[in-house]
């Protein structure tokens, strides 16, 4: 093997590992230096006493996220379909929904929906309302992702589907969705990462999820960083695997096309 081709070959596993180690050490050094400078007095014991509260909050966030994930996917697909509807009021309704949700802060949506809409309809369960708001919020983004996926299917394929005698529903089922889903999967998974983090805002309507539990413990122990650092790690445990999965999905999709 010549030196040139050796140079062009991708890095081996060992050198990749070493590089990752160096990068991690650099990040650690920055944090170590910062914490060292502020001479923070750590009090882990106080927070440790409340670890079950933290765990309960984490589990609640997990539950809310998974439920919202399914509900928002359903909402997203339905609204993506309204955007292709031949019935104009329905199409415009979908359009208005997407623009309203994407154009306003989630915080405002939560407050308005919980204190005005849910109240008017006498829905008192804040967990139910919380999941619903989060799903409606995330659903707007998902509907745009799904719509882009559907629209990427060329006219010629729809023509072929029509020519072989597939009905409209069959065309969606066997031609459009299988392809649109594969194309939408990476951005969809990215949206799920956002959804998990966005669930933290539900703490403002006193849903006892992960962030709320950290805030509660902080208000008792006054050990802010000891509460929020585990919080960050708790979210990373959920989001990091998903992000890594997206990466591998994108790679696989690139190879297939």
């Amino acid at each position: 093997m010549t030196a040139l081709s050796n140079h062009a070959s991708p890095p081996g596993l060992l050198s990749k590992f070493a590089a990752a180690l160096v990068a991690a050490a650099m990040v650690a050094a920055v944090f170590y230096f910062s914490f060292h400078q502020i001479t923070y007095r750590w009090n882990w014991q106080a927070v440790l006493n409340y670890r079950s509260t933290l765990l309960a909050g984490w589990l609640m966030t997990l539950t809310i996220s998974i439920t919202s994930l399914f509900l928002s996917t359903l909402i997203g697909v339905l609204f993506a379909l309204t955007r292709r509807s031949e019935f104009l009021p329905l199409r415009y309704f979908g359009h208005i929904y997407v623009e309203l949700v994407r154009g306003t802060p989630l915080l405002v949506q939560i407050l308005v929906f919980f204190y005005v809409v849910a109240d008017a309809f006498h829905v008192g369960n804040r967990y139910f309302v919380g999941v619903l708001i989060l799903s409606l919020f995330s659903g707007a983004y998902i509907s745009e992702i799904v719509r882009a996926g559907i629209e990427s299917i060329g006219q010629s394929q729809l023509e072929s589907a029509k020519a072989i005698g597939l009905t409209r529903a069959q065309t969606y089922r066997y031609v459009i969705f299988p392809q649109a889903l594969r194309l939408s999967l990476p951005p969809l998974v990215g949206q799920f990462v956002s959804l998990i983090k966005d669930s933290s805002l539900l703490s403002i309507i006193a849903v006892n999820e992960f962030t709320q539990s950290a805030r509660d413990i902080n208000s008792i122990t006054y050990s802010t960083l000891e509460c929020y650092i585990p919080l960050a790690i708790g979210y990373l445990v959920l989001t990091l695997p998903i992000s890594l999965w997206t990466r591998s999905l994108e790679k696989r999709l690139r190879f297939e096309t």
Binding site: S160, A163, I164, G165, Y174, V175, T257
Partner: protein, 249 residues
């Protein structure tokens, strides 16, 4: 040559306009005792529009079409039923890219024509074998050559045993070698008794494969008759000029 019941086609005063372009201008045509009709003529002359109306993919502004003595109802649910009885092969991009060659043929058999999965699979595989494509059964379209793709598309069109197979310039996107392999397949089908209507620019092929030829220009059928008479003794100036141009090289 197998002689099944021949194709019967009766077209009366068929017109279709796309905005400013009059694609078909009161076309009438009566076809009997024919197994293969070839539509020729300059681009934009109305061949493809006529074929698409026959395929149930386009609704004419006015006029009637009878295929085998049965009028095509230009209303969506009737058109869906009509489409299921004819095979269509487009110029390109016929196959679904996410399905293998085999799955592309199986899909309409199973979902549209209610074959059992195993039965549909057998029919598809037999067809692929008959046209020496069985080695490619499990490849996706992206892994096939242009010619192979078209042959699989033709196999899919004939798998459902259609009343007629409609070809819209099936070789226009192919190089000469692939063109030959696709035309060989169409010719073989013709010899085995498949009725077909074909839009093509391959005049040599039209001459050997067509019973009848219609020459369309500016939305009208200017000449129609036996292949030999249209090609050897065109009556209209337009047809003479067209044949003169395309046969020049």
């Amino acid at each position: 040559m197998k002689s099944g019941s021949a194709l019967k086609l009766k077209i009366s005063n068929l017109s279709k306009r796309f905005d400013a372009h009059q694609a078909l201008n009161s076309v009438s045509l009566v076809l009997e005792e024919t197994h293969s009709l070839v539509l020729v003529g300059p681009s934009g002359g109305g061949k493809t529009t006529l074929l698409r109306i026959l395929a149930g993919l386009e609704i004419p502004d006015c006029g009637t079409v009878e295929l085998n003595s049965e009028a095509i109802q230009f209303e969506e649910s009737a058109l869906l039923r009509h489409r299921r009885t004819v095979g269509v092969v487009f110029q390109a991009f016929n196959l679904f890219p996410h399905l293998t060659a085999l799955e592309n043929i199986v899909l309409p058999l199973e979902k549209v024509h209610n074959h059992l999965p195993a039965q549909a699979h057998d029919v598809a595989l037999q067809l692929l074998r008959r046209f020496q494509l069985d080695g490619h059964a499990n490849k996706k379209p992206a892994a096939l050559s242009g010619g192979q793709r078209q042959r699989v598309a033709i196999a899919r069109a004939v798998a459902i045993k259609p009343r007629v197979v409609l070809f819209d310039e099936p070789t226009s996107a192919l190089d000469p070698e692939m063109t030959a392999e696709v035309l060989d397949m169409i010719r073989k089908l013709r010899e085995e008794g498949t009725d077909l209507i074909l839009v093509t620019h391959e005049m040599g092929f039209a001459r050997v494969a067509a019973d009848r030829v219609a020459f369309l220009s500016e939305g009208r059928v200017l000449e129609f008759g036996d292949t030999k008479s249209v090609f050897d003794a065109p009556k209209t100036e337009e047809c003479k000029r067209f044949l003169g141009t395309v046969l020049k090289y």
